[in-house]
């Protein structure tokens, strides 16, 4: 009997059902694989390609129907964005919609895709082959989703480490603000090594400021002076009182003797004239206008003591050895008038002198103030004898952009948890992040805070291969010796001018080749009574009240040392034909749009009537030919002049004054 050994029919039904189910499930797997997003995207591209005119040979050859990836072992990246962005490097696809459109701009020729890939700039998950996982929008478990274009410059900064990266205005501005506010005084910030930020020395502040002002200032510097670079440390009244006592006890050096000054005889009108002549506004702002190198003077009269100001104007370097402020050569009467003017004009002038409160003699209060001073890291920015350099008080910002956003505090702010937002809030409102913070509130505008945050968001943990990094080394310090060195120190030339990149950038004339640019006699004369070469520029060279010998020393040093031989070898014997041709060129090129010659013309560039007396012809010709080689940021356009044309213009500009009036803005 075989009966009992045949499988029951019910099992056959189950078997058939399972078999069919198996087949269906397997078909589902095939369907799942065959209909991936990128496959349908490539199919769409295939249909679109037919309608695009003149696709590039490469795009035609592009193997539509396969994954495309850029493998960058150096950067540890694999970018498969090209799987869907198929027209990205072909100009023929400029007008088609995403994702097939050409990459805008010339970014792909300056940053070829096979060297830079996509995600180093854009972020996102480069290995993904579908829209969602590529993290076009934030995704769970993708630490860096694609950046919106507004903040993409943070990624420029990862490679472009120089302070002024090209075509990244927000990043550049952020970095400028970091330098301006000296963030690196309290934080170690990669890329800003070697830079120093110094607040005024406090060694003799007890003689300098009024105690009432100090309390107001310490309470909130921004409220007193919106342009203040010092932030609000959110001090308690007790802290302010003790700090005030401690600071007023700092009396290392009494001011210079001014007992012989008869303040009643002060001539405020003369003071006002001096104020203009010394070009104080080049560095100091009053009522919101003027330079930013020195402190704002709007309320100077309420801030400092008169004797101190007199003494300081007489010799600023005595109390503030690091100050960019120059030492004018003024008589005591001139100083008296100037001081008086400043007090009258820029102060409520309740009392010109104010005896300090006795608190500064309270040893307990002073000690308490000293503790506050130390605890809040005041020494990071201000020098004070007796305090050793304790290093930076704030945490290092190295790798800040790679901090885990979920571990960072956000306080009560309802924001998406990203490192960007954390940095932004920390810069803007350091005290709202739900943690006690000793970082002062700088009172940045949201836009400024965002740009600073953007600059900081470029500081990544992992370093890039050196071949990708664009860095500009910090310039070597320039400290000349001898008589010239003393003058440079006294007049603080390097506050505005630079040598090999070292020094200030207020002036558009670095010293590097100044001996070949300017005529010696012109320099000697100009230093004694500097006039305005550029009408439209507010920051101008001050009248130093130099003595002629000093001017001569400088002019000779320029002519001997700061020489560019290639500019010196220039045949300056011009023919009349050349001069005429130069005049014609001057008109035809539209130079008068920006330059004044005689009485006509614009005032964007320097006035040109006295060019011949000021500039050496070799320099004029060189400058006109390639202005950007000498100053990359100049507004002077490169006209691509031929040597003959440049020579003709040089001939015309260095020619006699008689021709000048005709060079004006004649149609």
């Amino acid at each position: 009997m075989e009966v009992k050994n045949v499988a029951p029919p019910r099992l056959h039904v189950v078997f058939a059902c399972l078999g069919v189910a198996f087949l269906l499930i397997f078909s589902w797997v095939l369907l799942h694989e065959g209909t991936t997003e990128w496959r349908s995207t490539q199919a769409r591209f295939g249909r679109l390609q037919a309608s695009v005119k003149n696709p590039h040979q490469l795009a035609q050859a592009a193997s539509v129907g396969g994954l495309r990836q850029i493998w960058l072992p150096d950067l540890g990246r694999i970018d498969r964005c090209g799987t869907c962005h198929l027209g990205i490097d072909d100009p023929a696809f400029a007008a088609v919609p995403a994702p097939f459109a050409t990459h805008p701009g010339t970014w792909l020729s300056t940053h070829p895709a096979d060297r830079f890939g996509c995600t180093p700039c854009h972020d996102g998950q480069g290995g993904a082959t579908d829209y969602t996982n590529a993290a076009h929008q934030p995704q769970p478990f993708v630490s860096r989703p694609m950046r919106p274009l507004e903040t993409i410059e943070a990624n420029c900064g990862a490679c472009h480490r120089a302070l002024d990266p090209p075509d990244a205005p927000r990043l550049a501005q952020g970095r400028r603000l970091i330098v301006e506010f000296g963030c690196f005084s309290c934080h170690e910030i990669p890329g800003f090594e070697g830079l120093t930020f110094r607040g005024p020395s406090l060694a003799s502040i007890g003689y300098k400021v009024r105690s009432g002002w100090l309390a107001v200032w310490l309470h909130d510097p921004k409220a007193y002076l919106p342009q203040s670079k010092m932030g609000n440390f959110r001090l308690s009244t007790q802290e302010i009182t003790s700090l005030q006592a401690f600071l007023l006890s700092q009396r290392a050096q009494p001011p210079l003797d001014s007992t012989g000054i008869d303040w009643k005889r002060a001539d405020a009108a003369n003071g006002r004239a001096l104020f203009g002549e010394l070009r104080c506004v080049s560095c100091h702002a009053v009522n919101g206008r003027g330079g930013t190198m020195g402190p704002e003077l709007t309320k100077i009269g309420d801030k400092v003591q008169r004797d101190w100001l007199f003494s300081y104007l007489k010799d600023p370097h005595r109390v503030q050895p690091d100050t960019p402020m120059l030492q004018y050569r003024l008589t005591d009467e001139q100083l008296r008038d100037l001081t008086s003017f400043l007090f009258d004009e820029y102060g409520s002038a309740a009392a010109a002198t104010e005896p300090p409160p006795v608190t500064y003699q309270d040893a307990r209060l002073v000690a308490e103030g000293r503790a506050v001073f130390e605890r809040r890291g005041c020494t990071s920015c201000h020098r004070l004898p007796g305090f050793k350099d304790t290093g930076r008080i704030g945490p290092s910002l190295a790798g800040i952009a790679d901090r885990d956003p979920d571990e960072l505090p956000y306080g009560s702010n309802i924001v998406r948890h990203t490192t960007d937002n954390y940095i932004f809030l920390k810069v803007l409102l350091p005290d709202t992040l739900g943690q006690p913070s000793s970082m002062p509130t700088f009172g940045f505008s949201p836009a400024d805070a965002a740009q600073i945050a953007l600059a900081l968001a470029s500081i990544r943990k992992a370093d890039l291969p050196a071949s990708y990094v664009v860095r500009r080394p910090a310039p070597a310090p320039y400290r000349p010796g001898g008589a010239f060195g003393e003058l440079v120190d006294r007049y603080r030339c390097l506050s505005c001018h630079s040598v090999n990149g070292y020094g200030g950038d207020l002036s558009t004339v670095p010293f590097d080749r100044i001996g070949s640019q300017l005529r010696r006699d012109y320099v000697a004369k100009y230093l004694l009574n500097p006039g305005a070469v550029r009408v439209s520029v507010e920051a101008r060279m001050p009248v130093f009240h130099m003595v002629p010998d000093e001017a001569k020393t400088i002019a000779e040093y320029f002519a001997d040392v700061f020489v560019d031989d290639s500019l010196e070898r220039y045949d300056a014997r011009f023919t009349a034909v050349e001069v005429r041709r130069g005049q014609e060129l001057y008109r035809r090129l539209g130079c008068q749009a920006c330059h004044q010659l005689g009485t006509k013309g614009g005032y964007v560039g320097p006035e040109l009537s006295t060019t011949g007396a000021r500039l050496k012809p070799g320099w004029i010709a060189a400058w006109l030919s390639k202005p950007q080689t000498y100053r990359p940021d100049t507004l002077q356009p490169d006209y691509g002049l031929s040597p003959a044309d440049a020579r003709a213009l040089t001939a015309y500009l260095s020619g006699s004054g008689a021709d000048r009036t005709r060079g004006g803005n004649t149609p």
Binding site: Y603, Q628, L635
Partner: protein
């Protein structure tokens, strides 16, 4: 059978609760204040990224004559004869080729006065492209 039924019921209830919880969600969506701050600065977020890149360049290179708003009222405009044109409004030039050649080769190259200089050798192609895009965006403004 009873435990299985109970289990099924429990799963169903849990699933319903979960889906309900997902749908309500938080009241206010957490924002990106940093991004908002940058967008707000760039003329109320009116400009695209490329246009705002162009705006940065325009303010540096062009605004002295053409004015901060492109209305031809820059501080140097009064010195120019003919004066710089108003670049705003629907009649402003929009053609990419035209704008590119004016900026690259100067106004003389398109048969106008020589007062607007050629920037082709001083600015990169990228910068000029940004400027062109910004100039086009000026057309969206109401003319003076």
């Amino acid at each position: 059978m009873t435990p299985r039924t109970l289990h099924t019921l429990a799963v169903a209830v849990l699933a319903l609760a979960a889906s309900a919880a997902c749908r309500t969600g938080p009241a206010s969506q957490p924002g990106d204040p940093m991004l908002d701050a940058i967008r707000a600065k760039e003329r109320g977020g009116d400009l695209t990224y490329r246009e705002s890149q162009g705006q940065h360049l325009f303010l540096r290179y062009c605004a002295t004559c053409h004015g901060d708003e492109g209305r031809g009222d820059g501080q140097n405009a009064s010195n120019l004869e003919p004066p710089p044109p108003d670049l705003t409004g629907p009649k402003s030039p929009q053609d990419v080729t035209y704008l590119t050649s004016v900026i690259t080769q100067g106004s003389a190259a398109v048969g106008r006065s020589p007062l607007s200089p050629p920037w082709g050798r001083s600015l990169t192609h990228q910068q000029i492209e940004y400027l062109v895009v910004y100039c086009q965006s000026l057309g969206r403004k109401k003319p003076a």
